[in-house]
Amino acid sequence: MMQFIHKYGSPRYYYQWSRGWQKWLAIITVALLAIGLYQSFFVAPPDYQQGETVRIMYIHVPAAWMSMFVYMVMAFSGIVALVWRIKVAEIVIGECAVLGASFTAMALITGMLWGKPMWGTYWVWDARLTSELVLLFLYFGVIALHGAFDDPRTGAKAAAILAIVGIINIPIIKYSVEWWNTLHQGPSVTKLDKPSMHISMLIPLLIMAIAFKTFFLSLLFMRSRAELLSREKNASWVKEIVKEMS
């Protein structure tokens, strides 16, 4: 475990192995998005109640899933950064915060656009909307703290502590808000017995969900590699790479 983390987390080796991953993930993302978007716009049936507006779900739901997933990735890399002091993990925290906030904002905005025709209002103080909004605030906190320090390594460690405290708090916030007020429909896919969604809608949704995951990973690799280069600009391996390229 230790060896694995140190090997794949060393800046130089990370930069090399992530190059190939980034390329393939980007290709897969484009392919999946093409299939998924085509399916969700032209193949999937309109909803019997909501009509064509249901198609925004294929963006809204994957984005909402990503908002939690990215937070988990961020908190996990926070633990890795604090325990093993891996530089790459420190960079990943900052990049995850920005990407996670974007996904959360995307889920909120698409949700508002979907809510207007369906509920008759852009916003209701419903449990799921509120906890998504709180999640956005938590991301803002991590971003602000991460950027507030002169030394980026200190900022990353502080952000890691905040992310870890947040991961304990998120379930509490979620349940407290849920008991407070609920209007949003229950989860349709993650039910244990049988999803209450027809298979013709489920398949495009799952394709889009995987596409969002690979999209996130390829962006994460791209951003973290760029950040790595700028932080390590005085290291010898970066100079070698620059020399090779010129």
């Binding site: 604090l82 709180v134 605030f137 938590l138 803002f140 906190g141 602000a144 703290l145 507030a148 320090f149 030394d151 200190t154 460690k157 502080a158 502590i161 905040l162 870890i164 405290v165 947040g166 304990i168 708090n169 509490i172 916030i173 407290s176 808000v177 008991w179 407070w180």
Partner: protein, 221 residues
């Protein structure tokens, strides 16, 4: 435990010697609560409905304003660094500082809140629940706030940033407390909310001092 008591005694003594600084958040609390009738409406019905939320949100803000005092002056004159170098568990030290903060800010708020609730026409039979929720929850506010202050200690403009970090974490406390007060105002059972708040307090008291120690280490780096 002697470490705990001596730090607690020191911090409380310091708080008493700086009475004026101590009073500021409390005056802030009184002024902000009395702004609401002026800003919204002096209507009796409306105010008594809003009272739990107004008092709770103002109490949150007053606690946040006072948060900086917990570590700031000790950080500036270097005594916090010396305290952290003491032998013995650092968690106890942090626990003592948080307790002292609660006694000097949280407890006065608990005493002031019932008086202010009368200004908002809050029904007198529910004042008991207001006091109980504040009594259980203000320690949670001090605990969570300590993490924010500890993380931003080495920054020049740490105060506003630490409020940004911590306010989202205050949401469960706010929700459970105001729900309990509203339930009691409507003569509904409230013990469930007290139990939840108590559980939240116990979890925070057990885990948060460790997070504060880690955050202080990052700040001293």
């Amino acid at each position: 435990m002697r470490l705990f008591y001596s730090i607690l005694y020191r911090d409380l003594l310091l708080a008493i010697r700086r009475r004026r600084e101590l009073a500021n958040p409390l005056v802030f609390f009184v002024i902000v609560v009395s702004l609401f009738p002026l800003g919204v409406s002096p209507d009796k019905e409306l105010l008594s409905q809003m009272a739990p939320g107004v008092i709770w949100v103002t109490a949150l803000l007053a606690t946040l304003m006072s948060m900086d005092a917990m570590f700031r002056s000790d950080y500036d004159d270097g005594s916090l660094e010396q305290l952290l170098l003491l032998p013995g568990p650092k968690v106890l030290l942090i626990g003592a500082k948080i307790t002292a903060h609660w006694i000097s800010i949280g407890l006065p708020l608990v005493i002031l809140a019932p008086i202010m609730s009368l200004l908002l026409y809050f029904p007198t039979h529910a004042i008991g629940s207001l006091v109980i929720t504040l009594l259980i929850s203000t320690p949670i506010l001090s605990l969570l706030g300590a993490v924010g202050v500890a993380l931003t200690l080495s920054l020049r403009s740490g105060g506003i940033l630490s409020s940004l970090l911590i306010l989202p974490f205050y949401i469960p406390v706010l929700i459970f407390s105001t729900m309990a007060i509203n339930a009691s105002a409507n003569q509904l059972p409230v013990s469930g909310y007290y139990a939840l708040l108590g559980a939240f307090f116990i979890i925070s008291a057990l885990l948060i001092p460790f997070a504060v120690v880690a955050a202080l280490k990052v700040s001293y780096n």
